[in-house]
Symmetry: C2
Subunit: 426 residues, 2 copies
């Protein structure tokens, strides 16, 4: 690894060099055969397993420094590489090796009246910059996904995890080397200077896309300042709408699962909408289940008449991603009012309707403009593994390119190919 | 149409209002049935035909004003709406009506082990801002494509075409009204104030994507300043590489067509690369054909030894889009040297190899990173109509989202849909 650059000038040069090396390695990765990429991933996994003791040691340095700096318990927990997490990291790399290679697939090859054949071939994006916070396992996951999809990666982790990330990156680079692939296909930004990020997100010449993973503040800052395109995930203010034609048992099961299966995830329901005519039958028993689970309910006036123990919801609640045991509840007139609420307040992540009514289910599916739209299913299903992508680099709330869970395919694009035999345009 | 806003404050308010109306109309367009959209397109075409005299009148005002302002002949030609062009505009709208509706198509619906069914549904992007220069027919083409794909459009044409654009937009809005669709699904920015563009490309709340159509200067300016994502087309520095295993007749036909079929288009060849061992047989006869067609050749030293009438090519020539009867010529060692040249100098638009060698054709197809990559075919085929898209809103040299010719599908994205029956995550 390069010695840490110390001055502004040095940082710029350091990042430019990183970018050039990544571009060149990316070209080699784009040509790499599936077998070589899979060999590299297997060798990386073996290196992670073999180096488990060393990873623990380097991680302990980060954790000790973090504790000294007064990082809070949640952050320290995310930072820690337990033996289970190291082993999960190795298994994750093996799972990526087992996924089908998206590169080179040709779709829709058709003959045209001019005699040419036209189709689209899936190709890597090139160089992907990943900017993430404290979880060191992202280093392996993100690198693995970038490599399998034929890209080079520049990884910039949190400064609090620098020793861990360096050690993991060494395993990854060793794996590349074993398979005869360029080690520079994965580079870790080896400086904690914040200026490095500023360069990374504006090096349009040598970086094709940025994937930030972390809190909303990080992602907003990067999106604002980046000139390289960003695949981003902002809030997950997800809704479940219980229609008046809902099966009450399914409604209660779906809503309860969507809120309580895990509180801290982006696909957790944050606002429950209930059709007026269904509210009286469903809200009181559902509220009782939430009460027993320790979930605080904040309701509109109509909800509070049915469940007086709810506290008062304000407009702020409709736009909040609680990421905890709190739920906003609103009774709405009908499907149109529910979609109007969602249009106004949703972050475009995931929404679900519970209904037995065919027409309303169809309208909800077509008209709600979120990255995942569901019928009679918990919002918690919005996930790359649940969707069958195998692994995900993130969940996009953007509309262009990748939407929702982003797997290997989201790290590729399609170019047009034309096959002729001396054809000219007349 | 609204009265032209005169102050900075007014322009901001005017654009914000336009954006809000577009967002609301876009929601209605997303739900619109195919039949209604097709009825609207047919009614627009009829209105254009019926209003041909009025369009000619309004256009004459623009042309007269342009002539007074001293616009050059090429610009005046692009500005003019001849009867043929008006009629072609109406036919174009009818052709868009005949294209299949991309919205609502569901791909890859699959059942997952959890019991849910997961697929992807094609949906409109929302609101599309089109910024273009002097050709008024873009108003109808772009509006038609945006509408058919279920989007709302905000059109900002060149100030020199304002009267023409207004008159065309009235035909379009009348067609929307006839079909019972919201007229605000197409709005023309009715001010020539340049600040309006600044607002349009930063209104992330109400504009989902910007498509600039025009010269490189316009596109670079917009890409630099936009916070809304831009689908952009920069240079077309396209290459043909004649491999040493090329069939000489096909090589000469393809290269000649790629250069001379039309000089001013972005998919015209600008640099010819020839394998060293093929150069002696192919370059002299090909140069003779170019000489007869009036094409100036600028060559590397080796080319000039074979064809001494060539002028000298410098590094500047390798990066230039001539858009005229000039061609840069370079003899390269082999396929690798050709791809190295392309990697260094191409704008990523379109490249073609002429070869009978299977392995080299395959390598070229896989390894060249441009939006269109061809074997034994003229670069002039890189076009939405030739590819079977029916019509194109532009050609993208970006890597994310749409690449190459962008038709209706490029104006949509895919959201995930999940169909359950009370499924919860375990």
């Amino acid at each position: 690894m390069t010695v840490i650059a110390e001055t502004t000038q040095n940082i710029r040069e350091y990042m430019t060099t990183l970018g050039r090396k990544a571009r060149s390695a990316g070209r080699a990765m784009a040509r790499a055969e599936t077998a070589a990429k899979d060999r590299a991933l297997a060798a990386m996994a073996d290196a992670v397993d073999a180096q488990a003791a060393r990873l623990a040691e380097e991680n302990a340095r980060d954790v000790a420094a973090g504790r000294e700096r007064g990082l809070d318990a949640a952050l320290l927990d995310r930072l820690e590489l337990t033996p289970e997490r190291v082993s999960a990291m190795a298994d994750g790399l093996r799972e990526i090796a087992a996924l089908p290679d998206p590169v080179g697939a040709i779709d829709d090859l058709r003959s045209r009246p001019s005699g040419i054949h036209v189709g689209r071939m899936r190709v890597p994006l090139g160089v992907i910059g990943i900017i993430y916070e404290s979880r060191p396992n992202v280093t392996a996951d993100a690198a693995g996904l970038c490599l399998k999809s034929g890209n080079a990666a520049i990884l910039r982790g949190g400064s609090e995890a620098l020793h861990s990330n360096r050690a993991i990156a060494e395993c990854i680079r060793a794996g590349l080397d074993t398979a005869g692939l360029p080690m520079d296909a994965v580079q870790v930004v080896d400086t904690t200077d914040r200026e490095a990020v500023g360069h990374l997100i504006t090096m349009t010449e040598n970086v094709d896309v940025i994937v930030p993973r972390g809190g909303k503040g990080l992602i907003e800052r990067i999106s604002r300042d980046a000139s390289v395109p960003v695949i981003k995930h902002l809030d997950g203010v997800c809704h479940v709408y219980i229609d008046d034609a809902a099966d009450p048992e399914k409604a209660i099961a779906v809503a309860f699962n969507a809120k309580t299966h895990r509180y801290g995830t982006c696909n957790t329901m944050e606002t429950l909408l209930v059709a007026d005519s269904a509210a009286e039958g469903i809200l009181p028993p559902l509220a009782e289940r939430f009460r027993l689970a320790g979930v605080e309910l904040r309701g509109c006036p109509r909800s509070r008449r049915l469940v007086p123990t709810m506290s008062v919801a304000t407009d702020d609640d409709w736009g909040t991603e609680y990421l905890g045991p709190v739920l906003a509840v609103r009774v709405v007139q009908d499907l149109d009012a529910a979609m109007e609420h969602i249009n106004t307040w949703s972050s475009g992540h995931t929404e679900s309707i519970v209904t037995q009514d065919w027409s309303r289910a169809q309208r909800f599916l077509r008209e709600v403009d979120s990255s995942s739209v569901m019928v009679n299913a918990s919002t918690r299903f919005a996930d790359g593994f649940e969707y069958g992508l195998g692994a995900e680099i993130g969940i996009s709330t953007d509309k262009l390119h990748a939407r929702g869970p982003v797997g290997l395919e989201g790290l590729t694009s399609q170019k047009w190919i034309v096959l002729g035999d001396g054809h000219v345009r007349g």
